[in-house]
Each structure stands twice: as C-alpha cells, then as structure tokens.
Subunit: 264 residues, 2 copies
C-alpha cells in the first residue's frame, strides 16, 4: 500500500480559491493480535507492517528473538497483524494488563514504564565516530527521506554503520519508524550491536529505551532532544547527538565517542 | 516548573569541540489517578498540569463537565494528578480496561477507538472565516510560540475567535497541547462552540476527534494533515486548513467556511 494519497483540495490565497491536486500522508490503523489477544491499535504508515508489528512486540518485551516467533500474518485489507509466539501460552493479557495498570500508556509514549529504565543495562560499546562521518551520514539520511520532503508529515529513521545506511524506515510516528527498523533487523538477522541510529524526529525518553535494548551506542538526530532523553542517554551509556545541521552538531552525552581530526 | 532546562553540552564543528550552555525542553512523566485508579502515565511538559489532566479525562470520555469533578489535586514534585469525579464509583478500570482490550492504545494516538468516530455528531456551526483572518491568526499564533523557536521541541495550540487568541497551550505532545486548552476551557467556563483551533503540529485523526467533541468548526494548522485526518474532518463537518504559510493555505474539507474578499 502506498504511504501517500492523492486528494483534490482547495488552494486559497489572498487573490482567491482554486482547485488543485495535493498529496497527503496516509494514516492507517493497525491492530496487533498477539497469541489471540487484541493488544493494541496503532496509527501508522501502511508500509513494512510486518516489521512494525515485530519491532513493537520486541520493544514492549513480548518477544525477544526471531526464534520466539511461531507465525506472523498481516492482513493489509483489514488492518490486522496476528503474531503467535512459540509456546504461545504467554498471554499478552497478563503481561500488558499489568503494565497498563501499573504504569499506564503514555500518549506518544507507548507503554512507558520507569521499571524498564532501571532494568536496562548501559551500552558498553567502544565504537567511535568522527564529526565528518556524522555530517556525511546526515546528508545521506536526508536524501533518503523523500516522503518527508514531499508532504511534510513523515518521520524517518535509519540503522547505519559509520559509512552508510543499512536499514531505512519511515512512518507518521517517530516510534513506529524506529520499531520498523528493529523489527526488520530481528527478522532478517541484521546486527544492531555497536551500530548507529539516525532519526529525523525529536529524541524523547522512549526512543532512548528502544535504542538501548538493541545495544546501540550512538543516536543522531536532526532535531532536539528532551531533558529526559538527555538524562537517559547519559545513564544508558549512549552518545546522543542532536541538531546536526550543516557542519555543526550538539553532543549531549558521552562525547568521547565523537572525534574531530582523529582526536577524541 | 519551567518548561525548559539549561544544560552544559558539547558543540562540535569540523574545527573542534567546545563546551557551551544549551537549553532543552523538559519532558516530565505525569501519572493520572482517577477515582483511586492509576489510569495513565503520560510524558508531557510540566506546565498547566491541572488543565492537562482534566482535558485528557474529557477527551477520553471519563468526565463530561466541570460539575462532574469533585476534586483535583496536582502533586508536581511526585508527578501525580489525582482527580475524583462526583459519584466516584464509576471506576476508570471498567471504562478504560474495556477500551484497552477492545480497541487498544495507539501510540501517539491515545485510546484510539473506531467506535468514538461513529458516535460523534458532525459539527453544524455556520461560522465562516476570511482568508485574511486566517493569515493574521497564524501570524499571532507563531509570535506566541516562543518555546518552539527557542528549542525546536514544543508543539503549540490555541483556541481563537476570528480576531484573536483566547487560550494558548504548549506541550512536547501535540495531543497534550490541545488537551491543556480544553481542560482550561472546561474548568474556567470558556466557550469553545463555534470557535477556532490553531495548532503547530501535524493534524491526524485523534486531533479531529478531540476538536469535534468540543463542537469546533474550524481547525487551522501550520503543518500537514494525514489522510485519515482529512477523511474525519469531512465526515465530522470540520473545515480543515493546513500548510498556512505566508499568504497561502490548503483547505482540505468544508471550504465553504473560508471566504476571500467577502465571497465564499
């Protein structure tokens, strides 16, 4: 299914009205059914739905590896993804109900839980990146983010090594774009350890949690981080780089991983 | 509590590293306890928390009027808002658990429910607005959105009449900014019927649902709508205006409410 939709709209200027054709980004409700239980309906871009479902279940701690997945069935027409885990008796109800009730569901935040943060081990990777590599990666990343340029409504994310993009994802939701990448990595055995995530969107606490779960040491954004994003990056051992624009950037935590002219 | 936080960060350019002071937007976890039940933990900007809690409960259908609220207690230090409804026996558990399980909790979408859309009556207001009024409102709105200009991380929303801003709200979340406005309107008896909402953020389906619940006929955004946003606006009788930039705009639905030189 295409991520965009053509529409006939009204262009209004001080001079008058005219009918024009425009393109808007598609918003699609996807319901995830896990081991027979209806878990969530998320609003997303209707692309890479299998990756999104798997990445979401991984981020929420409901699956932990490819081997843990028995089957995935995506029905695009009805907007449903059914995932069965191996030994499917682990009911989503029990796991999720507890989380809903004890820590709730943040808006724009998925199932935010303070417990998740405490249980997460810091990233230990000694990977370093040069300022030039960061500038070049961001340039490549922006060239790939065509949907954003066309409609102004999509977030992009990419898993990269120092020189290039490995996996690219887009979605109307910042979190979904990252989950799509991690879902694909899980299903296709693409290593994330020691690599880099680049994102177009604001960096808030939930993104840091997702990234730390994949043991990724460097997170680069075109946009701003939040205070809690910066705090988590520091605690979780992640180098957080924001506002990469032109030939400058802000480094909010673990700056030792960024080198300039060979110096750290 | 301030919406911003000062930090010492590393500025990196091709020439080298330097320590600078920077400002990031604060991200704050607020837990809402409704009639004794822990309902949700949302990530937000720590300002207007009372309005946010009330607006959220209204949007979710858990309270419907000011008279329905017995007490509101906000503990800023602990990040908790306790709201008791009149006849508080209506447990959030029953209402919300049903919604979680039957339709789930969309990320960035709060408690998205197809049933909400079907039950919502279209907005009938005959209010019209001129193109000049839209341009002027957007200019005033952008002047108010200082936090965004300072940090690039905040969304703004405003309730307006044709000539001016009545209520202004800011938050790291698009939905929260709108809920803050509606919470304040509810508590301070500010009428929303027939007025206008202006927002900085992308217009997706959940925003349309919130706006229709307050019987608001015109929604104006600096950004793009999604396909589902446009469809809901058409179905719910709302004039959806996007991409208001300089002296032009796109009208996605119910264009009869926008006039140019006195002509509709």
């Amino acid at each position: 299914m295409d991520n965009m939709e053509k529409l006939s709209i009204l262009r209004v200027t001080a001079a008058g009205k005219s009918d024009i054709e425009d393109v808007v980004i598609r918003e699609f409700p996807l319901t995830i059914i896990f081991n027979g239980d209806e878990l969530v309906t998320m609003l997303c871009s209707p692309e890479d739905l299998k990756y999104l479902a798997v990445g979401f279940l991984f981020s929420e701690g409901l699956i932990s590896s490819k081997d843990g997945i028995k089957s995935i069935l995506v029905d695009e027409r009805r907007g449903v993804a059914r995932v069965e885990s191996v030994g499917g008796s682990e009911s989503a109800d029990e796991v999720v109900f507890k989380r809903f009730i004890s820590s709730g569901c943040g808006r724009g935040a998925s199932f935010y839980s303070a417990a998740d943060i405490k249980n997460q081990a810091p990233v230990k990777s000694r990977t370093v990146v040069s300022a030039e590599e960061v500038f070049t990666l961001m340039k490549k990343f922006q060239r790939r983010s065509e949907a954003f340029r066309a409609t102004g409504g999509v977030h992009s994310a990419a898993l990269c090594h120092k020189q290039d993009i490995m996996v690219f994802g887009e979605d109307i939701g910042r979190h979904n774009a990252v989950d799509k990448i991690f879902g694909r990595c899980l299903l296709e055995d693409i290593p994330t350890d020691g690599n880099i995530i680049v994102t177009s969107g604001r960096v808030s606490s939930e993104i840091l949690l997702k990234v730390s779960k994949r043991n990724i040491p460097i997170l680069i954004s075109k946009s701003a981080p939040t205070s809690l994003g910066v705090k988590l990056a520091a605690d979780l051992g992640i180098t957080l780089i924001g506002f990469v624009r032109g030939r400058r950037m802000n480094v909010y935590s673990h700056g030792w991983r960024v080198s300039v002219d060979g110096k750290q």
